[in-house]
């Protein structure tokens, strides 16, 4: 059998908060979490606030190391030794695209930042890559010289997408990126992401999104609670027969809502 693109094996994460002068408070944000993700597939991660979803995003994106366990890409363990490459292979799309752009830097500089840092490629090639990626995410060439405040919210999101994709990553992690978006923007984005996934074969980890998005995009759904996985199934099954209480409530509310708006 082919090894899956991304394998997460029993990772855990314990935060140690200094509390007072000498004591420390241990917060076990993730307790032994495992899953696999295939190329061009999408995994949705849902769960209550504080269930450890963002922590999972940090761990995947390489912002911090798990306290124990392994994250493997193409069967290869990711750790400190290949940290730089790993930050290029698994890219994070932050929650607030507008806040994640430097207001004092031109769009082109920010999209190119990861390339400039990591690869010694020629100027011409870099420009070609810049405009190619911008076109893929639906930006115009002239946007390259804009500053972020000259763009609309949806264009800023596209800039963060382009910045993530310019290094040809294999996995994109969305940490609640789309939850704050209005419906038209979300619809546009679902189309864009589906298209990009087909053309580039990227895998998505979509954290904390509305069920309507999940239904359109996700192949699997993982439900977290208190740092543990309480449900993991194909999207269809989750919608047809939710297992955990949390999911039941979500699906029930979702059905009420969609049927209400239909009828």
């Amino acid at each position: 059998m082919q090894t899956p693109l991304l394998q997460v094996k029993h990772i855990s994460k314990t935060y140690m908060n200094p509390k007072g002068w000498f004591r420390r408070e241990h917060v076990r944000a993730i307790k032994s979490l495992s899953f696999e993700l295939k190329r061009a597939h999408t995994l949705a991660v849902i769960g209550e606030a504080g269930s450890g979803k963002s922590t999972l995003a940090h761990l995947l994106a390489g912002e911090m190391e798990p306290s124990s366990g392994d994250i493997l890409l193409h069967g290869q363990s990711l750790n400190d030794t290949n940290k730089r490459q790993r930050c290029m292979d698994i890219r994070l799309i932050p929650q607030m695209p507008s806040l994640s752009l430097n207001p004092r830097q031109r769009v082109s500089t920010q999209i190119l930042a990861p390339l400039v840092q990591h690869r010694s490629i020629t100027h011409a090639l870099r420009q070609q890559k810049l405009y190619g990626t911008m076109r893929d995410v639906g930006l115009l060439e002239e946007h390259a010289n804009y500053y972020p405040n000259m763009l609309s919210a949806s264009q800023r999101l596209r800039v963060t997408l382009a910045r993530a994709m310019i290094v040809d990553p294999e996995v994109l992690v969305f940490d609640q990126t789309l939850s704050a978006m209005d419906i038209t923007m979300r619809a546009q984005l679902i189309n864009l992401l589906t298209k990009l996934q087909q053309s580039r074969g990227m895998a998505y980890v979509m954290i904390g999104h509305q069920l309507s998005m999940i239904r359109h995009l996700a192949d699997h759904v993982m439900v977290m609670q208190h740092g543990e996985v309480i449900e993991f199934d194909q999207t269809n099954n989750v919608f047809k027969a939710p297992a955990s209480d949390y999911t039941k409530r979500m699906v029930y509310a979702y059905n009420e809502l969609t049927q209400g708006s239909n009828g």
């Binding site: 390489g62 994640s100 004092r104 930042a113 990861p114 420009q127 070609q128 500053y147 963060t160 910045r163």
Partner: protein, 297 residues
């Protein structure tokens, strides 16, 4: 594609250009700016521009009134003081002391203060929290009082006063840069820049610095006007520049007994202080508004 980039650079001006454009669109700020430039030119050419040596005493022409009085002469346009020295020449030479001294102290304290504040913010941790409490204490003391404390220890004199004012200004710069850098480091765009692989140096140079430019520039102009006033005040209190030096504050002090009989001795240096402080403040205000405009566009 490269050709495109060149065209588009013109279409979207850089942040610096946008600020300059916004600044120059307001008449009053431009007037203040050019007044300041004029004063700087006078400062640099003061040896050439002053009609007489500032220390030369025209013994037979004591307390000559300005030229528009009946007894005044055009040769001594703003009159002479109690020792027969030409007031215009002294005010012109005084730019080197009051304005030049202020610029010197602000540049030195700015470099030191910003360096300390920025490094402390980048290092974080315990040291930075100690710094914070220390600064809060020191900043409760006005810079002038702090300068007087230093003078009390080191004695009076022009060199000491420069040192004292420099030391008095450093805490503000530490605080502003420390806070600004900390605020920027907490932003999402710094987090993303880290993930993009920026090294600490690149992070500081390309992400942090452009984003703290605004509070720093505004602090520099505020410090400049307060340095002018501190130097003049210390000169007036006879703690700073000593007797013959044409420092504006000490010129005013020496004219104080003559206030009723020869008001011009004290008026002209006073006006010089007023105009320089006003134009510096206006330039600062203009820059502040130009940056604000940037945010809202």
């Amino acid at each position: 594609m490269d050709r495109n980039t060149i065209y588009q650079d013109d279409a979207v001006p850089s942040i610096t250009k946008q600020v300059i454009t916004a600044f120059s669109s307001r008449g009053i700020f431009m007037v203040a700016f050019w007044t300041l430039i004029l004063m700087l030119v006078v400062m640099m050419l003061s040896y050439v521009l002053a009609p007489y040596h500032p220390q030369h005493q025209h013994i037979d022409l004591l307390l000559l009134p300005p030229s528009w009085y009946d007894q005044g002469t055009v040769e001594f346009f703003f009159g002479t003081d109690g020792l027969g020295r030409d007031i215009l020449s002294r005010v012109i030479s005084g730019t080197r002391y009051t304005l030049g001294g202020a610029i010197l102290t602000v540049v030195i304290s700015g470099i030191i203060g910003v360096a300390i504040g920025a490094v402390a913010a980048m290092l974080r941790g315990l040291r930075s929290s100690i710094l914070h409490h220390l600064l809060d204490t020191i900043l409760a003391i006005p810079s002038l009082l702090l300068a007087i404390l230093v003078i009390a220890i080191l004695g009076r004199g022009w060199d000491t006063v420069l040192l004292a004012v420099t030391i008095g200004l450093i805490p503000q710069f530490i605080r502003v840069s420390h806070q600004a850098v900390l605020a920027v480091l907490e932003t999402e765009y710094v987090r993303m820049a880290r993930l993009d692989g920026y090294t600490n140096f690149q992070l500081f140079y390309r992400v942090v610095l452009p984003n703290i430019a605004e509070p720093l520039i505004i602090r520099f102009t505020a410090a400049l006007s307060s340095a002018v006033m501190d130097l003049a005040a210390l000169g007036f209190l006879n703690l700073g520049a000593q007797a013959p030096a044409p420092e504006w504050g000490s010129m005013m002090a020496s004219g104080i007994e003559l206030l009723t009989s020869a008001p011009w001795v004290i008026t002209l240096p006073g006006i010089a202080i007023f105009i320089s402080v006003l134009s510096i403040n206006l330039v600062g205000e203009g820059l502040q508004r130009s940056f604000k405009k940037l945010e809202s566009s």
